[in-house]
């Protein structure tokens, strides 16, 4: 399928060297997007975490061991492996900004997109969501509650973009040229160490534009050709090397 050309490319740059792995982003995401709380989450292959924090290890023994945390939202790939395979056009990448959509009422739950995504960024509703009594009062008005049987994923808090554009229009600004931080997803917003940056990768006025061009910036599995809109940043070579598969003799990106 012909890839769309966009004038805006929303992207994230996550500074792994600033992430303590606290998990606040995961909570904020859940709350913002009405993912139902669960009493049991031991089986991570059954939970819904649009944002998931992975622990990375340099695999060395004590005392040379090093640890890092990698928060993983949807990569909003420029060349998505998921949307092209969907048989019912329930997920597309055709809107300005480059966010890969997910239309819950359209999804038939075939999970082909999940098989396609190497980042495990897509989640299936194995059960109907259960909100303990009263807790449904804190549902935000932003994201409809998904029934069982459909796939869901991070949308970069797409509703926040809609709101930011609306606000810009209201204030007489150009909604297609939002200022830095006029639109940021909940996870980036809440991060207690400021490890996450968000903005238009194509806009030179935005911090992420500059950060994404750093030699320390990398993306996950670039060799597959998914062209993600989420960048990571680390000065540690071993961290960057874990961003992609390398043959032994291959040099790490940025080295």
């Amino acid at each position: 399928m012909q890839a769309h050309t966009f004038h805006i490319k929303w992207g994230m740059v996550i500074d792994i060297d600033k992430c303590t792995g606290c998990g606040a982003c995961m909570v904020a995401c859940q709350a913002e997007n009405n993912v139902a709380p669960v009493t049991e989450a031991s089986n991570k292959l059954r939970t819904l975490s649009w944002m998931l924090v992975y622990q990375l290890s340099n695999k060395q023994d004590f005392p040379n061991h090093d640890v890092a945390y990698l928060p993983r939202p949807c990569m909003q790939c420029g060349h998505p492996s998921c949307s092209t395979v969907c048989p019912v056009v329930a997920t597309t990448k055709d809107e300005e900004g480059g966010i890969v959509s997910q239309v819950y009422p359209r999804c038939i739950g075939c999970r082909y997109c999940m098989a396609a995504c190497p980042y495990h960024a897509r989640y299936f509703n194995w059960h109907d969501p259960v909100w303990p009594e009263g807790l449904d009062k804190v549902l935000t008005p932003f994201t409809s509650v998904r029934p069982r049987g459909v796939v869901e994923k991070c949308t970069f808090c797409h509703h926040r973009w809609m709101a930011a554009k609306e606000k810009a229009r209201h204030e007489g600004h150009d909604p297609s040229h939002l200022a830095e931080d006029a639109y940021i997803p909940a996870c980036v917003d809440i991060c207690p160490t400021g490890a996450m940056h968000f903005g238009d990768l194509l806009n030179p006025e935005h911090e992420v534009h500059k950060l994404s061009k750093s030699p320390y910036a990398f993306r996950l599995l670039e060799k597959l050709g998914t062209d993600p809109q989420v960048y990571y940043y680390s000065k540690r070579e071993w961290v960057r090397r874990q961003g992609d598969n390398y043959l032994k003799h291959e040099k790490t990106k940025g080295e």
Binding site: D17, K18, C19, T20, G21, C22, G23, A24, M26, V27, A28, Q30, A31, E32, V35, P37, V38, T39, E40, A41, S42, K44, T47, S49, V53, Q55, S57, D61, F62, P63, H65, D66, V67, Y69, Y104, P105, D128, P129, W131, P132, E133, G134, L135, D136, K137, V138, L139, T140, P141, S144, V145, R146, P147, A186, D189, I190, C191, P192, T193, G194
Partner: protein, 689 residues
Amino acid sequence: MKKMGLDRRSFISFLAGGTGGILFTPVVWKLLDDASIWSQNWPWIPRLSYGALDRKSALCKLGPDAYGVEVLTVGGRPVTAYGNEKDPASKGGVCPLGAASVQLLYSPARVKSPMKKDGASMVPISWDEGLSILKDKIKVAGDKVAMISGDETGTAAEVLAALVAGLGSDQYFLMPSEAGPAVRAWQNVFGGDGQPGYDFENSDCILVLGADICQAWGPGVGKSCMDAKATGGSLLYAGPVENGTAAVADEWIPCMPGTEAILALGVANALIQAGRSADTMGMSEFSDFVRKGFSPAQVEAKTGVQAAKIKDLSERLLRAKKPVVVIGSEIGQGLSTFEAAAGMSLNFLLGRINQEGGVRIVPWAEPVFEGAPRRDAMLAKDLVAFLEGVAVGRNEAPAVMLVHEANPAYALPGGQSMANSLRKAGFLVSFSSFMDETAAMADLILPASYSFEGFDDSYTPYGSAKGTYLATAPVIGPVNDTKTAGDIILAVADELGLGLGLESFEEVLQARAENLGADWSGLLEDGEAWTSERTAFQFFLSMWKVPFDADLGKKGADGQLVLAPVVKLNIGSAKMATPPFNVLTISERELQGQDCFVAMNKATAAMIGVDQGSMVKIASQSGEMKGRVQIFEGVVPGAVSACLGFGHTAWDDFSRGKGTNACDVLLVQGLDSQGGASFGNPQITVSRA
């Protein structure tokens, strides 16, 4: 042949006509259309409700810190928490507990009305009945009333202390924290006044000893450290476990659990060798003390940190223009006064007291009530020491124990024995908003409203480099039959005829704001924090006002396995169990079903003879816990790391019955001469379970 039935033509007409006929009826299309509508409107899937969006400022005090958040409301209904950019304590960040704070309003663990113990169960009662029971009990108890509060920064704790003091008791305790030992060290050992804070943001070399400041000291601290790093500063972390702070530090310096203070004095020794000195009284005694007991070889033997590394640390501090050293406990509690002093001594030697990018001493807020203890007087009293005294009969058990914003039955070292000490109180009253372990064993629960349901405030959380004050109005009225803690206490005081002089907690906060010179309406209306750059005036600083404890750092022991507990705020804090929305964040390395994990490195596991996933029992002199072995190379050899926050027995399905409580293994290792109890890294035995 006579044509019956079908010829070729009529066969095709039959097929085409049949298909076309059905498609021409609306049946198929209507059914399909309905199917797509049904499948997205099941009655059991909650529907969203909409309304005007607004943000109201509120306070998050669920962790050891306190900071401002903004609560998003939809048609007046609180839905989720965002950061408050105007709060210098948080800089707009939110910790994982704060991120789940709004949902806690409707937590299944909320106490819905006053309750009293009736045999083995709790029965709901009215507020009038509850207040009158408490009044009667206090009348009988006279001055044998004690209190415990976990609200280290709020004025509610002060109202409670005013009541207790008014009754003639001086048993007003705060839950153990970093502030207690730090303040005791500052005031007693160095002769200072005020609360130490750290100007991480402007420092160019931050040496962190033990404390997981970037993960567990509140969102602003992490951000400040990252800001320092971004401008070329370095962040060094020394501790037994590669925790959140180690993950973002430029370097992790592994040291044996509980030996950070020894490392500090080793570095102090190196600084003195390099010619550093503090121009204060007691310097020569201090210098003799570290030279004698903390030579590089001695320190290396105890901490496991190589002499060269100690020298390197001292050199890096010396090279830096604006270094700062902070010491604390991995779990935010349990440091002894002298351990805190050991860390602070480095800031003295480096000349970093009341300097930009160094330690800044924030003045105390004067009490609102006359006769009420100032915050430092409360911090000077050590709850663990007191309850231990009750356990061994050194202290008399109070006739009435009032517990506010705290869960001592769960979160104190040697959990079970502390719970027993609490049980010895004649009458245990909990003001908890949640059915925590303490509330579950209380004789009476007078449930306080959740922070978002009433007025609340916070004055300068420990660590903050400047004075801050935040006050917030209710975001929503009480969703259950609860009252603001301050108002409950004022009502009790009123009933007892101990009129504290102010009618409502709102007035109390107004008075506090006035005392500080903050604009009350500004605080409430735009969530703007009052801040002050003022530092406390120091009359007479000394390196050696009280001689350093010679037993310093007896926590770790050679050749023994030692517990290295850690705290992860997403799992919970001393007062908060895992909130519903945080269950998802607990990793498969920390909890699997009902079993929590304990981490150790390969060498340690081989030494004990256990493997990844083995179920082990960890026992100290005070208690035991169980967990599965997690091989993690980010733990020093000889140490076993366990996460606090598991093993709840009360609360709700989101936290109850998950793992075991590592607090049970924590052991009080003695009281220092300044009244502080030190705990945190007991010797343990590990056996297969």
